[in-house]
Structures are given as structure tokens and as C-alpha cells.
Symmetry: C2
Subunit: 354 residues, 2 copies
């Protein structure tokens, strides 16, 4: 049995799955989370239900957390960050800084599962008026209201009668430097649209999109359901301007399917903000000398054929730290990284024994 644990950085879906996996293989784990609670973005950003099956985010993440609690092989450190790292796996010297001060840890291997951050729509040259109009909100603000069980116009506190989503805010956009598609926003927006319609059956809901990227089973499990059961209106269009008229927000642009100008008053406009590498992802990449791929996420070697292995021996990446990822991606990568990190420890201990 090796003495140095696998250090897992980040307690979201990828990190939690990795922690369970490493311990199931019989190796020790130290999982570090900078927030005071495990669960990752679904918890810290107050997600309501998860895509695609609309399971409650608190319950789903709670079940993942429960699976790693009270395991003698798993040391959980919340409110803790990594401040220094030196040496090489399987003898990495790492400093953990928690609420009770600093502590040294020798890590045998590392899984970086530091995830993403939501795009800040203020960056987009104010075009969408996020910081200007109370009733222009984001996917994340919407999750918070849905979780609280009350979806209202922020300006009045009243239920809205007409709501729209604008897709690809901070994604597929060379102007702001985010050339990637964030993969999940089409699914999340459609899911939120369904939740709004369930909560407010009188409210009309529109989704303005470029391409609806409802890949795999999302096609019928979310997209068709949204259209057929929940009567959500998907309009292929480009929104070029958001202004105020009276107490409403007016969305202007072009309906590219009908080939005509689009001008629609809305009570709430929801910006479908994309993913960017989180600060933690950027910091940990620098800390462990991991190269960035061209979009600023952590690079894996071998492209599609090696999703969790970085160029630095013994250091692995899982989930959205490696690029836009849905929950399936994060969980599969977490499991794969658990295998790779455990195999790395095993090989290292065989070498020592030989």
C-alpha cells in the first residue's frame, strides 16, 4: 500500500467520482475543495435540476458526496486551497491552506478537477445590458430562482408573462476571444425553459439560437419534449440589441428562418452564458506546470484518444478543467482519472518494491 494519497483538487462531479473510484481501488485520497462544502458548481451556483433528467441538484450531488463521506481512505478538506507544489509524482510536496493554517502533504498523484466558471456577460461590450437592466439575467440567476421555487421579474417581483433565452452568450464568439461552443447551454436553457413553463403555465417562453446543439439523447429527452409537451418556441435568430421600452425589455434582431426582422418585448431576458476555465483551473495549471490548450483549458495528451492524461507524469485532468463538459463527460472523466492515478501509484510502488 503506497503511503502518498492521490490529491484530488475540486469537489464537483468529476472530483467526487474520482475520489470514490480511487478509494474503491484501495488507494488513499485527499480531496481538497476551496468552498466550505463539497458538490461543485451545481451546489455553489444553486442549480435547481440537472440535465437531462431533471433530477434535483441538491439530492443528486448529495448522493455523490454521501458516497465518499466516512470512508477511512478518503480525507476530505473543505475551505482549503493549494498554495505551493514542488517535486514530482509520486513524491510531490504540496502545501494545503485551510482554516486552521498551512499543512504539508506528500501526494502520490494529482487529479485536477477544478472545473469552469460562467461567462460574465458584462464582458460582452454591454451589448446585452446585463448590468443595465434588472430583467436581463443569466442561466445561473435563473437556476437560483428555480431552486428557490419562484421565478419572477427581478424588477417587480411579479411572475413574467413573456420570457426569452438568448443562446451563445460568451460562446462561439471571436470578438470576445471565446471561440469554443460551451456544449451544455442549449440543453440547460431548454431544461430551464421547461421548468419555467411547469411553474408558470401562462408564461410564453422563447429560445433564440444559432444551432440547437441537443446532441445524443438530449434531442428527444429535452428538445422534443420542450417543443411538444411544454410548447416552448425555438426561433433561429440573431439578437443584435436589447433596449428598454416602458417597463419591458425589447429584444431586436433577425429571425433567420423567416428572414425577417425580429422585435419582441420581454418581461425577462435570460442570457445563456457559456463556460470559461475557472480561476482554480488556471491557477492549478500553473502550479503543476500543465500546458494550456489553445482555448485556455488544461491540455490532455493524445487528443480524443487520451482524455485525462496531461504531459506531466502522475498528474491528470477531469471534467470541465479540460474543456467544456457536460455531467456525463465529467463523471466518465472522473472515473477514468481515478483509474489512471491509481495505476500510476501502483506502478510507482512496484518500482520501489523491485
Amino acid at each position: 500500500m503506497p503511503e502518498n494519497p492521490v490529491l484530488i483538487i475540486g469537489g464537483g462531479p468529476a472530483g467526487l467520482e474520482a475520489a470514490r473510484g480511487v478509494a474503491d481501488l484501495g488507494y488513499p485520497v485527499t480531496i481538497v475543495e476551496k468552498e466550505d462544502r463539497l458538490g461543485g458548481t451545481p451546489i455553489h451556483c444553486d442549480y435547481a435540476a440537472l440535465t437531462p433528467n431533471l433530477i434535483n441538484a441538491e439530492e443528486a450531488m448529495g448522493a455523490m458526496v454521501k458516497k465518499i463521506e466516512n470512508d477511512p481512505l478518503i480525507d476530505i478538506r473543505t475551505s482549503t486551497e493549494i498554495t505551493t507544489a514542488s517535486g514530482n509524482a509520486p513524491e510531490l510536496q504540496v502545501t494545503l491552506k485551510g482554516q486552521s493554517g498551512e499543512e504539508q502533504l506528500n501526494a502520490g498523484s494529482v487529479i485536477v478537477a477544478t472545473g469552469f466558471k460562467h461567462f460574465d456577460p458584462g464582458k460582452e461590450t454591454q451589448m446585452y445590458g446585463y448590468y443595465e437592466f434588472d430583467d436581463v439575467i443569466t442561466l445561473v440567476d435563473t437556476e437560483r430562482m428555480l431552486k428557490a421555487g419562484k421565478f419572477v421579474r427581478p424588477s417587480t417581483g411579479e411572475p413574467p408573462k413573456q420570457v426569452c433565452f438568448i443562446q451563445c452568450v460568451g460562446s462561439r464568439d471571436r470578438q470576445i476571444g471565446n471561440q469554443w461552443c460551451s456544449k451544455v447551454c442549449c440543453g440547460i436553457a431548454s431544461k430551464e425553459a421547461i421548468e419555467i413553463r411547469k411553474m408558470l403555465p401562462e408564461c410564453r417562453v422563447f429560445v433564440f439560437y444559432i444551432d440547437m446543439r441537443m446532441y445524443g439523447f438530449w434531442e428527444d429527452e429535452i428538445y422534443w419534449k420542450a417543443q411538444e409537451e411544454y410548447k416552448i418556441n425555438f426561433i433561429r435568430g440573431i439578437v443584435t440589441e436589447i433596449t428598454r421600452r416602458g417597463d419591458q425589455v425589447v429584444v431586436k434582431g433577425e429571425d433567420t428562418t423567416m428572414g425577417r426582422p425580429l422585435e419582441a418585448p420581454m418581461d425577462v431576458v435570460i442570457l445563456s452564458v457559456g463556460m470559461e476555465p475557472s480561476e482554480g483551473t488556471t491557477q492549478m495549471a500553473k502550479m503543476f506546470n500543465l500546458p494550456f490548450e489553445s482555448h485556455g483549458y488544461i491540455e490532455s495528451i493524445g487528443g480524443a484518444l487520451n482524455t485525462v492524461v496531461t504531459p506531466v507524469p502522475g498528474i491528470f485532468v477531469a471534467g470541465a478543467a479540460g474543456g467544456p463538459a457536460d455531467l456525463e463527460d465529467s463523471v466518465s472523466m472522473g472515473g477514468a482519472a481515478a483509474m489512471k492515478a491509481s495505476a500510476f501509484l501502483r506502478k510507482a510502488s512496484l518500482k520501489v518494491a523491485a
Copy 2:
């Protein structure tokens, strides 16, 4: 050390990654492939280059195969099928039928990595004329020509001057019962379009699509590159009919962006056929009593939060046997399944020891 190996069924990307992973964790593997060669669909369907980085399929899969050859922990059985299974993991009795006859194997755990098959466009009420016109071919036929280094009109053997792809053939289609999006066809078509333009710089290439599902980094790594560097024309449109005029094939439908009828003569029409569960996937599901999810693939429990675990203890699924999957999905799931199967064996051996 447990004596019963992990039985991995299928020697494609998911199965190969799983085999390497299980052996790296110190557990024995028997990997069974019904074809006479490992490598899976990229090899048996003669893929040219892989998505997204256009690496040579023979070389990429060859490297994966090489990683598992000559490993004392890995028993490779090509030209072999599973004909019976009984009992429960970790004491499953399985019959392997190879070229030298039948053989019994006790398997400790199973990873089903039996993949997908390409949609047969003959099924689609002949609308696309696949069996009628020589110059109507599929993504798969195109791969074969690209791999051979010569892309020609099948009817004449001459290089085509005008080629189009038609997306979503056998996907997103309730008529034929395939309600899912096959996830990869937008990327594969764009990749093939690039390869055609590289090979035949004079040839004009069109892609008729509903939504271009170029998620994640495919957006700029393939889609933008296809448009900007390779001048491929992406047209949002619906194709309703394919007929012959003289020695060309005429594509009729609607350009939904321009809102006008579409009629274009083509030298070659390429049908972007989607994924369906392979026969092996259906057979192995029945053999091991694995439930099908609603689309006919093997169901995992826990939806997005448990991608490789089936309801049957000790039996796992990886890659496109569980639903439409790209290479990243298959490799991550293969790695995750390796972890789960090895952890299952470990737990079983701890129980025996206790």
C-alpha cells in the same frame, strides 16, 4: 489476486482503453473481438482520419492496440464471440467460440464495449436513393475512398466537381424510429469535407444541415476551419428528394435560411448516416440480462451521474454500446469502466478473504 479476469467484449476504442486500464491496475483481462483484428469500427469500416485532429485512423488505433499486445495480464481473442453466459459476477460462466472451437471461461466482471452500427439508408423509404444511384454514398463509403487516397464519382471513376453532404440521415427522425441525435455526424461530415477539399481543391463542397452540432472545441477546430480555410459551404436546409438528371444527381429541398427552394445538381451526394446499436450490443444485452434504455442502447443506472454502471452487478458498459458517443466519450468511458470492473474484482476478493 483474483483468478477470474475482466471479460471485455469488443476491441474498439472503448474496449482497448478498458483493457489497458484493467491491466494497469493489476487485474487480468480477456478481450474478445468478433472480427479477426482489434481496432473496432475505425479499422473495420476503413476510416481515414479521426475527428477532431485528423490523425490517421490506422496509426491511432494501431497505437492503442500496441499498448495492450504482449502483456501477460491481457489475453486477446480475435475472431471470437460469446455464445452463452450463466451465473453471476464474479463467477460468470461464459462460452467463447473461436476458430479453434468452444471454450469455457470464468469471468470476474464484464465490460460490454460492443459499439454501434451505421444506419442503413435503404431503410429510409428509399428517399435518398442510396440503392438506386451509384453516386449517392454514405459517410462510411467516403471514409473508405479517403483512406484509399482517391475520392471519385463511383459511376465514372472521375473526380467530382460538386459534392454535398446531407446531415441527419437516420437520426432525429421519428418516421424511422430513430429519435436521437447521433452526436458525431456533423463533425465527421465536416472532417470529410475538409479531406475532400484537400484532395480535390477544385471540387465545391456543400453541407445541408438542420443544426450544426459542433460542440466544444469542434466549433473552431473543425467547423470554422472548414468554412474559412477550406471554403466549404454550409447551408441550412431540408432535402426532400434526390433524383437523376443526365449523369448527375439532383438534390431538391428548401434553403431555410434564404427561405427559397433549393435545387442543386451534384456529382456525388454523401448521406451522413447516424448510429444505431450494433447487433453485438443487442445480443450482449440479452445475453447478460441488461435492460435497454428507450432508444435500444444499453442502459446505465443513475443517468448522467453514472455513465458505465448497469443494473446488473459486475457488468459495465462503455462507448457507443450505451448511446451515441464520440471518441472522447468512448475513451473516457473505457477508462471509467476499467476502474469500476477492477474495483468490483477487488471488493469480491476482499469478501472471499474475509
